[in-house]
Symmetry: C2
Subunit: 335 residues, 2 copies
């Protein structure tokens, strides 16, 4: 049987258990050219909250009644006349929150579980890693000696952003929630400094950590922290807008950055990014990051929870911050 | 005698008559290497409000007791051993709000009253024109066919921005206050459309005028209009942050653009600019715009008021909008 999580109600504010409905259906039959994937791991990402909204965005809003959209990685268990895949291949794509996914193969990437653990392919070698790689290099345009600040610094994207910036010779300060995460990014990942936004004053701590200001701010959170960072820009600074998790569950208009005129004063640039724009270069990024992983220069950490029925409370950890590293749900059941 | 307007009190909120004090002093003696300029016209610009604030900005804050900072144009009436200038030359610079200004010549540009009227040298051929030229071409990166929206569209910068965009083959919509200004930018300046923010709903009118969205938004005003424009971005749109006149007199934190996540959705860029960065290319811009002016392809209009003692109420017109075109004060008195 195939357990599937359906998206049944658009949330106002935060999503909760009523947003989804768990159903059990027969494992689907595949048609000519199709592939059946037995999914092992589901990726949980802050972007999911945006997909639930109606209206124009960078991707179609999810339809009510559809399987909850999610990145995933799994094993090919059936193929009907598709020369690109065979049973036993491992693939990653947007399989959704379900145990079995059908695909025509066009949206699947082959992955190799001998090179990296499967969850890494939906983390550092998947969308979050690609986002970090192209965001900090292509949009942030970091160069040696830059002072780089990243929020959500212990998360799937932020932890890779900071490590890449370190590899490129930058001074890197991470903003994260709680002493454990702050300790992790400094002691395990090699950041130069950490600011605990749950227990410290971000504005004054930024002044301490970046006395001359910052060259690149990579924003995953929006809100007050974005404003603090804008107040610290150096001339020609770059602000990468990757996400705004502090604002996603708002029921009212989101908080705009009241310090945005710092862009004028400092001739700075604030640029939004969506990783899909670099799809034709994912291979390049995977090669670079795979090499760094193999050499031990890049560390990848996943917080893996189990059971498709635990999706709602696991999803909630994205917003409470109760997880360390890339949030993953194991949906395959031991047989 | 030399009438001078001193900056005597930092305003909270809007500047008023108590911000300045008019004094009369002897015409200054010049020292070796210096030039005495009899000033004809003073430039009034929204940026003046920012110069009055304490704290870090793109230029030193004005000191209490100093002559009110202002761009100006006038005639050289005395020179003491400075080979670059002679009596009878006309020059433009930052002479301040006074009838006679002393300079070492390093901050003065020579101007030719036979090529253009003197007020044009502090308008279209001065800082506002330079701001428009480099802002729309270098920061806005306009190309033929772009949909360009500019706020403050009947003003010194906005009117030139829109005309340059038209010359480059763009569709241009201006946002201005009142039917006279809207009529002016369409009928006199050739804009494709105008939105009267004082009498029309900017959000719905933008949708009418730009049904497919906009490629470049040139912002002089900030606040609600900036938010409306952000809601209209097309993919890879550019937002030029030149000013935020709606926010300059705020006593509380300025309103940040709550639609800024449109930058993410549309992979768009918001970039601040200060014209001084292009100082080494002013000649190029003056040549281009002077040629357009001579050919009748670019129209320049000044709203000229008279009398240094009328500075406070004239300055106020920047914020009430009661003027059409570049705001100028004639400070030379008929003898």
């Amino acid at each position: 049987m195939n357990k599937q999580l359906l998206f049944v109600k658009r949330p106002q504010g935060a999503a909760d258990a009523s947003t989804w409905s768990l159903v059990t259906n027969p494992i689907p039959e595949i048609k000519e050219g199709e592939i059946l994937v037995k999914q092992h791991y589901i990726s949980l990402d802050p972007a999911m909250r945006g997909w639930m909204n109606e209206g124009k965005s960078y991707i179609e809003p999810m339809a009510i009644g559809s399987v909850m959209r999610a990145g995933s990685v799994g094993e090919v268990v059936a193929v009907k006349n598709n020369p690109k895949f065979k049973v036993g291949d491992y693939v990653s794509g947007f399989g959704g929150v379900q145990q079995y996914a059908v695909s025509d193969g066009n949206d699947l990437y082959m992955v190799d579980p001998k090179l990296a653990p499967l969850p890494t392919y939906i983390g550092t070698l998947g969308m979050p890693g690609m986002t970090a790689y192209f965001g900090i290099l292509e949009v942030g345009k970091i160069k040696e000696g830059d002072v780089v600040v990243v929020s959500g610094a212990a998360g799937a994207v932020g932890s890779i952003v900071g490590q890449i910036a370190k590899l490129k010779g930058c001074r890197v300060i991470g903003i994260a929630g709680g002493p454990d995460k702050c300790k992790y990014i400094v002691e395990e990942l090699g950041f130069d400094g950490a600011i605990d936004y749950k227990n410290e004053d971000v504005r004054s701590r930024l002044k301490e950590e970046c006395p001359k200001g910052l060259d690149v701010y990579f924003d995953n959170v929006g809100g007050y922290i974005l404003d603090c960072a804008l107040g610290m820009l150096r001339m020609h600074a770059r602000v990468v807008i990757c996400g705004a998790i502090s604002q996603y569950n708002n029921r009212t208009a989101i908080k705009g950055p009241s310090n945005y005129l710092s862009l004028l004063v400092n001739r700075a640039t604030m640029q939004g990014m969506v990783v899909f724009d670099w799809a034709n270069r994912y291979g390049e990024a995977a090669m670079a990051m795979g090499t760094w992983l193999a050499e031990g220069k890049l560390k990848s950490r996943e917080a893996i929870y189990e059971g498709i029925e635990n999706f709602p409370q696991t999803y909630n950890r994205l917003f409470t911050g109760e997880k360390l590293g890339k949030l993953v749900l194991k949906v395959i059941e031991d047989e």
